[in-house]
């Protein structure tokens, strides 16, 4: 009896699923249409409430899934119907998509609440409070697009969300489009993100087209049902699909070689970095691979390529993060590195581990970004105070970059809450027992240790660097003495910001409980989606806990933190006493290496030299030579315009003037000449006329008499 009741309740919850799209849409429309009349609190409240309601709907879906783990598809509308091609707009509800919905709306809601307070200050610091509403409209639009992405039941609808989040990313990176380097720095960062993602989207589209060519469908369930059949017929086709899809993933999830846009994306306001460029959008690629796991399962080559791309990205980005001074850039490279972990995990077939790390990473990276936003605004407030009280220092203070960690230090006492939550986030990221990051990273490392010793080694190195740069960041920002007046006068952020931080900190601490070894709640949960599909032959093997791997990774983390402590706390302090300006200890010890890392391996410059500049030169050549000289000057002006001119000249001169006018004028001249001749007979003398009549009569008579007779 009770069973059937919950069963029907569950099914009715499923029918609520479209609300995950309608709530953000409603919030964005309310703010878009009437936002101008609302106060900032109301705007933020509407936006956060919309996302909160979305979260509740997602929770209801989860409740429903507990009794109906097989999930369902809620058809919404027929979208495209062309001949045999029939694409529905449907909401896929299964444990995988609902996991993403929960993360996106849950973390998204906390970030929205944080943004109410953060943007209040941010719009005033940047001097345009009217953009407050726009921010929340974009933010809700992002949630809408992200929900479309994760709730899609086919690749085309997923692509709509995929592009939608890309658009929101672009809009929000360039939110202060008139700021940044030379006044266009932020706009350029937005362009870079958009264009780089375009390269990835091109791969995604190729994958989708190939997929349709092979399977005659975009629908997940239909495609996955046919995978085995097609993989026998056309294994190369599936390999192509998966590799093209990987290009899309490298674009969206910022993997090698398309990761370059993510560090620049930090130009957006900090909640944007937290929501879009750390917690949700960039994980779309991981979700895509997890969603397409039946495809990847039949092509091990593609899987290992994915694993290698992820692993190399993890190491590569982690090393760069060590030598960055911008607080957000460090976190950006850290995000790239952690995304590498996830991609490596799904590449190794450890979908549960990858998704688990996605969830915990969403918690602690959102926490870290939001805390860094709190730090930045704390320093901004300090800066403001310094300017206010010491007019003389105004000029010097203006050059101070509130995001540069060299200008911070000693914020532990000034911003205690931010410090503690930051510390929790950093320890979770570094993988310290028993915080969330430890469990998820450990699962990935465990899987790697089974799969390939090289991957395991590289990922462990990445984990070492992760712990090291987080130790460096904590010490540079919060320990030691303030290195600028602004840092010395920094103040703690308001409650509206610290409460979401604390909530995220709690999640970062206990997030690991989702999938504790031995219980594997999260694994069993995802199993319903990832395991029951026939295409996955071995399925997702649940990683058991290995004390050895866990011990090694914990040791690595502690070692890295201790090293970081020694380098930056002990050695750094001594260096600072000796020098006026801040010098990184590594800058002294390994100057060339540090420079290479600080300059990010010159990858941006390399891309400029390899792609951007040749492309610009090529477009310039096309514009000047092909378009202007050939097409405009030669083809249009000479051939078309010149030819037409010559034709009209020909028609005008010989044809019109010569022939047409000749006929008319000739007739006139002939008439004139005839008239001139005939007028001589009109003498005016009646006798002449009479004579003519007489002669005429004579002639007629002669004719009658002599001829006709």
């Amino acid at each position: 009896m009770l069973m059937s009741e919950t069963a029907t309740a569950g099914l009715s919850f499923f029918s609520l699923a479209p609300l995950v799209l309608f709530f953000p849409l409603l919030g964005l429309l309310l703010n878009l249409i009437w936002g101008g009349r609302f106060s900032e609190k109301v705007i933020g409240g509407i936006a956060s409430g919309a996302v909160g309601a979305t979260f509740l709907v997602a929770v209801l879906q989860m409740v429903a899934l507990l009794s109906h783990p097989e999930g369902t598809v809620i058809p919404l509308v027929d979208w495209i119907t062309i001949g045999a091609l029939n694409i529905h707009w449907g909401i896929q509800i299964d444990t995988l998509s609902v996991t993403m919905m929960l993360v996106v709306s849950g973390v998204g809601c906390l970030i929205h609440i944080y943004a109410i307070a953060y943007m209040h200050d941010d719009v005033r610091i940047n001097g345009d409070p009217s953009r407050y509403r726009r921010f929340f409209v974009f933010f809700n639009l992002f949630i809408l697009a992200m929900m479309t992405l994760v709730s899609a039941d086919n690749y085309l609808m997923l692509f709509v969300g995929w592009e939608g989040v890309g658009l929101c990313s672009y809009l929000l990176i360039g939110f202060w489009y008139d700021k940044g380097k030379d006044g266009i720095g932020n706009a350029l960062a937005g362009n870079k993100a958009f264009i780089t993602n375009r390269v990835g989207d091109f791969g995604f589209l190729l994958a989708a087209f190939t997929l349709f060519g092979l399977f005659r469908s975009f629908n997940f369930n239909e495609v996955f049902a046919k995978v085995e059949e097609i993989s026998v017929l056309m294994p190369a086709g599936i390999l192509m699909i998966t590799l093209f899809m990987l290009i899309g993933v490298t674009g969206k999830s910022a993997q090698l070689p398309l990761y370059v846009w993510l560090p620049d994306a930090m130009a957006g306001p900090t909640p944007v970095s937290a929501l879009i460029h750390a917690a949700t959008m960039v994980t779309a690629g991981v979700y895509l691979i997890a969603r397409s796991h039946p495809l990847y399962a039949v092509v091990p080559q593609a899987q290992s390529l994915v694993a290698w791309v992820g692993t190399l990205t993890a190491v590569f980005a982690a090393t760069i993060a060590v030598a960055q001074f911008d607080i957000k850039k460090v976190l950006a490279y850290s995000t790239i590195s952690q995304l590498g972990f996830m991609v490596a995990a799904v590449g190794m077939g450890a979908y549960v581990a990858g998704m688990f790390h996605l969830v915990t990473h969403a918690f602690f990276k959102a926490l870290l970004f939001l805390s860094s936003g709190s730090v930045i605004q704390g320093v901004e407030r300090g800066l403001h105070e310094v300017e206010h009280h010491h007019k003389g220092k105004q000029a010097a203070a203006h050059h101070l970059d509130p995001q540069d960690m060299r200008n911070m230090g000693g914020l532990r006492q000034r911003m205690p809450i931010t410090f503690w939550v930051y510390l929790i986030g950093a320890l979770a990221l570094a993988g310290i027992v028993p915080l969330a990051g430890f469990w998820s990273k450990d699962e990935i490392l465990l899987k790697a240790s089974y799969k390939d010793a090289r991957l395991y080694t590289l990922l462990s190195i990445a984990a070492f660097f992760t712990a090291f740069y987080m130790a460096r960041q904590i010490i540079l920002v919060f320990f030691g003495k303030p290195r600028s007046d602004a840092a010395a006068h920094a103040t703690e952020s308001p409650k509206l910001m610290t409460v979401p931080l604390i909530a995220l900190a709690v999640l970062s601490v206990f997030g690991g409980a989702l999938n504790l070894p031995g219980i594997h709640a999260f694994g069993h949960w995802l199993e319903h989606t990832i395991h029951h599909l026939a295409a996955v032959k071995e399925g997702v093997e649940l990683p058991e806990f290995s004390l050895q791997v866990a011990a090694v990774s914990t040791l690595i983390a502690f070692l890295a933190i201790a090293l970081g402590w020694w380098v930056y706390q002990q050695w750094g302090e001594r260096l600072q006493k000796a020098n006026a300006a801040y010098i990184d200890p590594l800058q002294v010890a390994f100057k060339p290496v540090f420079n290479v890392l600080n300059q990010k391996y010159w990858v941006d410059e390399l891309y400029w030299a390899l792609f951007v500049n040749p492309y610009k030169a090529f477009s310039k050549w096309l514009a000047e030579q092909v378009d202007w000289r050939f097409w405009h000057d030669w083809f249009h002006d000479t051939i078309i315009a010149g030819g037409f001119k010559r034709l009209t000249l020909f028609l005008a001169q010989p044809i019109d003037l010569g022939i047409i006018d000749g006929i008319a004028n000739g007739l006139a001249a002939l008439t004139q000449a005839g008239a001139a001749y005939l007028r001589r007979f009109q003498s005016g003398y009646v006798r002449n006329y009479a004579l003519a009549v007489f002669l005429g009569v004579v002639a007629m008579m002669s004719y009658l008499i002599f001829v006709l007779r």
Partner: protein, 100 residues
């Protein structure tokens, strides 16, 4: 009985004289007179032939011709009077206003 040739010859001479008068003379009155001469030459020919054939139609034609000639003279003389009033001359060569 006078043979028909005499009448015809006289008629031809009269007609020739009349037409020469119309073509050569300048005085409008003289031209009118010449026209009458030509009409009467025709009348003579009519009468002569009528008599030769013993029919009456020729005789009746002559009556018509004389009636028409009378009407013509009336109109013509009225015109000449009017022309003389305006131009103080009845020289036909002076009347060339319709010249093209």
């Amino acid at each position: 009985m006078v043979p028909i040739y005499y009448y015809i010859a006289l008629s031809a001479i009269l007609f020739t004289l009349g037409s020469l008068g119309v073509l050569i003379r300048r005085n409008a009155i003289i031209i009118f007179m010449s026209v009458e001469l030509m009409l009467n030459a025709a009348n003579l020919a009519f009468v002569a032939f009528a008599r030769m054939h013993g029919g009456l139609s020729g005789q009746i034609f002559v009556f018509f011709v004389m009636a028409v000639a009378a009407a013509e003279v009336a109109v013509g003389l009225a015109l000449i009077v009017k022309i003389f009033e305006t131009k103080h001359s009845i020289d036909i060569d002076q009347m060339n206003m319709m010249k093209g």
